[in-house]
């Protein structure tokens, strides 16, 4: 354990030192991510100023829903940047180097590289949205609720991590999965900004069973808010985000282990 902690510390120190070579750039990049993501919120904010509510959700409830997306993404990207960029790692042959070191492949991918710009940009936006909304949506916070909130965040991180891990495993067969990630992940994430009850059944199906963003924010948010539109879905869905995360990640991990055998390496 001490050895692992020491190494993770070394990796972080190395990454941090590299950014400090470009101090101004680091700050600007995080700010750019923060502002880019904020525009979406601003659009919703002004829309709801006009319409008051969306399918029973008022502005603060919407912001609470949104905060889960940004918080989980901010944490997720600290750990899974290496999986997000895995296609280029395989194509450039850098994955060979990981295989030549006496450490787990996944461990190295996770800890060698972190997109701190995205983490800080998304994460701070998530924190701001949470602070703005959490006191205004009628939740009376108890230690038990707070604990479930933390587990839900962890579950949301794992769900998205599992999708990244699954797509990264496909790289061993396809070499490039960038557009699949764009289609399946980033496009679906746009839907997740809204309560899924407003969408057509087909999109709801996608959001629950294909790319389960509903478990990242809608269902856990409903656990706290209990808006009436939850009645359209099985009640159990509100309680299982941590389990969905754990199971999905486990399956993605097993698929990763299996796919690793098919690694072909790249020519010189």
């Amino acid at each position: 354990m001490k050895d692992i902690a020491n190494l993770v510390g070394m990796y972080m120190k190395t990454t941090a030192k590299s950014w400090f070579q470009y101090r101004v750039d680091t700050v600007l990049k995080s700010l750019a991510v923060f502002l880019r993501e904020s525009t979406e919120i601003i659009v919703i904010y002004f829309t709801l100023l006009k319409f008051k509510e969306l399918n029973g959700w008022d502005i603060y409830e919407m912001l609470f829903l949104y905060s889960l997306i940004f918080l989980t993404y901010g944490i997720m990207i600290i750990f899974f940047t290496g999986l997000r960029d895995f296609g280029s790692t395989v194509r450039s042959g850098s994955f060979d180097r990981f295989l030549l070191r006496p450490r787990g492949e996944l461990f190295q991918i996770i800890f060698v590289n972190s997109d701190w710009f995205a983490a800080v940009g998304h994460g701070s936006l998530g924190v701001v949205l949470f602070l703005v909304s959490a006191g205004r949506v009628g939740i009376s916070w108890t230690p038990a609720l707070a604990l479930y909130y933390i587990f839900s965040i962890a579950g949301g991180v794992l769900i998205q991590g599992a999708v990244f891990l699954f797509l990264a495993s496909l790289n061993f067969f396809l070499l490039e999965t960038g557009s699949l990630k764009e289609l399946l992940y980033y496009n679906m994430r746009r839907f997740a900004g809204y309560p899924i009850s407003i969408f057509h059944r087909f999109i709801q199906f996608l959001m629950i069973y294909v790319m389960p963003f509903a478990f990242v924010n809608y269902f856990p948010a409903q656990y706290f808010l209990r808006k009436s539109d939850i009645n359209a879905f099985p009640e159990i869905f509100m309680h299982i985000t941590p389990a969905v995360g754990a199971v999905m990640y486990l399956f993605a991990y097993l698929f990763w282990r299996y796919s690793l055998r098919f690694y072909k390496s790249s020519g010189n």
Partner: protein, 325 residues
């Protein structure tokens, strides 16, 4: 049982076959066609501890694939590899801490950071004990003359300096086997010589087993005792450098400088090449032409100023093997 045992190893890749034209492109999208390409066919060899072996072959011959299987990156389809009791691709994590790999074309150093930071990071990755680390660092800094740039960011180094730092990085955990994949590529003559000297010295002092792949025959001639040639996935030669001369080279060449510009009449079985000014080169098979007869003819007929016999360079022999002529 040798230190490294490779027996009947084969590896096939499935490569997608592109069809020509727009229709082909669309067809490819829906029904991709693949063809199997055998990268390595039934290759066997064994290497003893402390040996220095050059691994050569034209591009795409399968030498990189073989090296990748030996270093645990790729699984062979059939056959078996054993290195000091380990099966590299099955016991990857415990195996790789005993090997070091230098890719001449891909640095493992942290681009933006001083060289020493990469070494520190590798120390943590390989769990190198403090004492071993300090010893190695001191020794390699001295041997590779890295003092001047060890605190400079890697991006500011010259190619030769970067290569030296990369070699030190691959050795910081005292590996027992080191793979060098084109370790002198792009480095100038002086730099190359320095790297070769270091490699020889390290082999002599620590009895490290070394395997090279390179296109630079000078690398092989100056460092290796043994040569394995791979072509089209198969082993075509395995033996000493002298052996390859004996086996493949029955070719001899005679360089003659004449006193004046003369026209040489054709001689049976001898190829005549014009060199600069009054020099000519006579190339022939030692089986077909007796050298004393040829020399006699030349000395009697023409006014000869200087004469010298030489064996062709190893490079031209290798080229001959690749072309199979």
């Amino acid at each position: 049982m040798s230190f490294i045992e490779v027996s009947k190893v084969s590896k096939t890749f499935r490569v997608s076959k592109r069809q020509a034209g727009v229709t082909g492109m669309i067809a490819n999208l829906f029904v991709p066609k693949y063809e199997k390409r055998k990268a390595v066919k039934d290759v066997s060899f064994s290497i003893n501890e402390g040996e220095m072996v050059g691994f050569i072959g034209p591009n795409g011959a399968g030498k990189s694939t073989t090296i990748k299987m030996l270093s645990g990156i790729l699984y062979p389809d059939s056959g078996e590899i054993k290195v000091d009791g380990y099966i590299p691709y099955k016991q990857r994590k415990s195996y790789v801490s005993r090997i070091g790999v230098v890719f001449g074309q891909k640095s493992q150093l942290q681009w933006d950071l001083p060289v020493i930071d990469s070494f520190e990071l590798l120390k943590a990755i390989y769990r190198v004990p403090d004492k071993v680390y300090r010893n190695n660092l001191e020794r390699f800094t001295e041997m590779l003359d890295m003092n001047a740039f060890i605190n400079q960011p890697v991006r500011q180094l010259s190619l030769g300096q970067r290569m030296r730092a990369d070699i030190a990085a691959a050795l910081i955990h005292s590996p027992e086997i080191v793979f060098f994949d084109e370790p002198t590529i792009g480095v100038d003559v002086v730099g190359k010589e320095r790297i070769r000297n270091f490699i020889r010295e390290l082999n002599r002092q620590d009895n490290v087993t070394m395997i090279f792949t390179t296109h630079d025959m000078q690398d092989i001639e100056k460092t290796c005792d043994r040569l394995i040639i791979i072509d089209e996935g198969s082993k075509v030669y395995d033996g000493s450098l002298q052996g390859i001369r004996k086996k493949y080279s029955t070719l001899r060449q005679l360089d003659v400088e004449f006193a004046d510009d003369v026209e040489i009449q054709p001689i049976n079985d001898v190829k005549i090449v014009n060199m600069e000014q009054n020099k000519k080169r006579f190339v022939f098979e030692s089986r077909e032409v007796r050298i004393n007869e040829l020399m006699n003819t030349l000395l009697n007929k023409y006014n000869v100023k200087d004469i010298s016999i030489s064996e062709p360079e190893i490079e031209s022999i290798i080229r001959k093997i690749y072309n199979r002529d």
